[in-house]
Amino acid sequence: MTVNGEPSSETVTALHELLTPFNKTGVDLKPGTRFSEDLNFDSLVVMEFVATVEDRFDISVPMNMLPDITTIHELAVAVEKIVKADRG
């Protein structure tokens, strides 16, 4: 799925779909869009969104990854990393 560390377009598209109902600020979703500054996520919204990501990809996102995820791009990379690890 991942080529040269870039997440696949399927992953990014899926994340954009999941983000749409959470995008209360109505910003354009780009790879560099930040969850806290641009989308105004507080920690509760973060967890609700993580739950939808987990359900969609059938994965479990470890809590210790969260502090290093600031942008949509970083989340996409993290999701693919977990999917790959889970599927062997």
Partner: protein, 586 residues
């Protein structure tokens, strides 16, 4: 009785709600090891559930004691002496529990430390851990393996004998360690409080103060036979650590755990556990109830298959109680047997171990509607509850726990106040802390002659305590007392604003003139939009609160919060003054 969880091999069963042969004792012990020694004679204990609500691990008090004693010897053999501190990352795991109690049996002082909880918060988290490590000066730090890189970074440069996982200790083979029997007045643990204005402040909790508080709380909520607790509260917060780890253990109460992060992702799992295990006691800040109610709004009524009819202590604490949230929760879960009489308003703080006052079980919330402008005159003047903006509704926090005293004193002259007079809340009694760890200045500010200055404002209505806000943040504008909460409430009820988006503070300019100022979190927009927002906030505050404020726009998420999610107003002010929070160009 609780059902056993399905499992491939030997089916796991949660610990029973009641012991058959062991009489229940409500924390009337000298020390925490003595309390666990007693609980270990029965069959009750702790049960850990997975994110999907399946039983994952069972830890009867008997087994917890056995493992804690083994690990106490290992920690001692590794060179830790009575009085040494050990930092423990407070994950909802058996590793944390076993080592917290291992420390108790070795006379070592555990210091629970928080876990990270949000996207992109690395720097803030590391700074928080580093501050606590520098304050508590632990000799070792343990945690789940996933978090070790963060901890190593946070503790870089600190002198530590070991940073490792809970499993590391299990592998240690040195056996020449010694158990240590503590005395009642020895330190049991250090709890970093969520105090907004004093950072970092580690509350020193002795065995005696802990057990006196646990006992008084257990009597207040009538934790007699038949009670079963369910909790998702983090162990690094006093409500989770004391209320749902120590108070339940010292009263031999079986407790079912859901990790905080799993609750945050799937809040209804909390209610499923209450239902399936026939839980009777659980606590949450208002937002936990709100999260559940919100999640259910889109589902067909009655479709969840829950039975919440046994829930008799639905405790609310940790922040100002929001009556409209509780009403929504009651309405939403009424079809599942939820009784609003179970709502139990309470008040407490880590400086008093945990609990100060509780409502009586199965009485429900007491609501009091008072005039908003009355707050400025120190009088809680009752007004009709007609939803008018000049009134405000507060929820009663119950009656003071046994063995403790509360006084409400005048903010200016310190005289003791009577019914419906608003003043500062002071607490005295056996659970009041001896002090903050290694911080005599902060201690002297907080405790005087056995009376703890809570920094909160409240009033009496009969024997019931009502909390209205924080005295320490009170603003005086042109001789008038203004509550920052009122200003923030106004701002946060404007379109596009949310709870926690603003902080009302007083800044002093170069001429020594005090200027009320509102820091408002705003999303990026163009300069024109920002100018309009500033004007709108100014106008709305002037209209609603009657004062003219400076409005400063700051970046989203830049306002600091306490560990319990409240706005850290004092810290916001300091951070703004020293330039750690900067104004957006507007």
């Amino acid at each position: 009785m609780p059902q056993s969880a399905p499992s491939a091999s030997a089916p796991l069963r949660p610990t029973p709600t009641d012991n058959t042969a062991l009489p229940k004792i409500l924390a009337e012990f000298e020390t925490l090891p003595a309390a666990l020694d007693y609980a270990a004679k029965g069959d009750t204990g702790f049960n850990f559930y997975s994110a999907r609500g399946d039983l994952a691990t069972v830890l009867p008090f008997r087994e917890l004691r056995a493992r804690a004693v083994v690990h106490a010897v290992k920690l001692s053999a590794a060179g830790l002496k009575p009085g040494d501190r050990v930092a423990l990352l407070a994950a909802t795991t058996t590793g944390f529990l076993v080592h917290f109690f291992a420390c108790q049996y070795a006379g070592i002082i555990p210091v629970p430390m928080p876990l990270p909880t949000a996207f992109g918060r690395r720097e803030g988290y590391i700074a928080q851990i580093r501050n606590q490590v520098q304050s508590a000066t632990p000799r070792m730090i343990f945690g789940p393996p996933d978090y070790l890189p963060l901890i190593q970074e946070a503790a870089a440069g600190c002198e530590l004998a070991h940073i490792g996982t809970y499993d590391d200790v299990a592998a240690w083979t040195e056996s020449n360690g010694k158990l240590h029997t503590p005395r009642a007045n020895d330190l049991s643990y250090i709890q970093y409080s969520s105090g907004s204005t004093r950072f970092p402040t580690g509350v020193c909790v002795t065995h005696d103060s802990l057990l006196k508080n646990c006992s008084a709380m257990s009597y207040a909520v009538e934790n007699f036979a038949g009670q079963r607790a369910v909790s998702w509260l983090p162990f690094f917060h006093d409500m989770g650590l004391v209320g749902f780890m120590l108070a339940v253990l010292t009263s031999q109460t079986s407790t079912d755990y859901l990790a905080t992060e799993d609750f945050a992702r799937r809040p209804l799992t909390w209610l499923r556990l209450m239902s399936e295990n026939q839980g009777t006691m659980s606590f949450s800040p208002s937002f936990g109830y709100e999260l559940c109610a919100r999640r259910v709004q889109t589902m067909p009524e009655g479709s969840l298959g829950l039975d919440l009819s046994r829930w008799r202590i639905a405790g609310i604490g940790g922040e100002m109680i929001k009556p409209q949230v509780m009403k929504l929760f009651a309405e939403t879960f009424k079809p599942y047997g939820m009784s609003e009489k179970a709502f139990n308003g309470s008040y407490g703080l880590a400086e008093c171990v945990l609990g100060v006052s509780f409502s009586r079980p199965m009485v429900g919330m007491t609501l009091d509607h008072i005039a908003k402008d009355g707050l400025a005159t120190h009088q809680a003047t009752p007004v009709p509850n007609d939803g008018s903006p000049t009134g405000r509704t507060f929820v009663g926090c119950g009656e003071v726990i046994k063995g403790h005293k509360v006084e409400i004193r005048d903010v200016d002259d310190g005289r003791v106040l009577g019914q419906r007079e608003i003043g500062r809340v002071y607490v005295a009694g056996p659970s009041v802390m001896t002090g903050y760890y290694n911080n005599p200045d902060a201690t002297a500010d907080a405790v005087n002659g056995g009376w703890l200055d809570t920094g909160d404002l409240g009033y009496w209505l009969g024997a019931e305590l009502f909390i209205v806000g924080r005295a320490k943040d009170m603003m005086i504008v042109n001789g008038r007392n203004v509550w920052p909460q009122d200003i923030e409430w106004t701002v946060e009820h404007m379109d596009g604003m949310r709870s926690g988006d603003s902080a009302a503070i007083v800044l002093v300019d170069a001429q020594g003139v005090e200027k009320p100022t509102i820091l408002v979190q705003c999303r990026p927009g163009n300069i024109e939009e920002r100018g309009k927002l500033i004007a709108d906030v100014k106008a709305r505050v002037q209209e609603a609160v009657g004062i003219v404020c400076d409005v400063v726009l700051v970046a989203p998420r830049s306002l600091p919060k306490t560990t319990s999610g409240k706005l850290a107003r004092g810290k916001a002010k300091t951070m703004f003054e020293v330039g750690e929070i900067t104004a957006l160009d507007g």
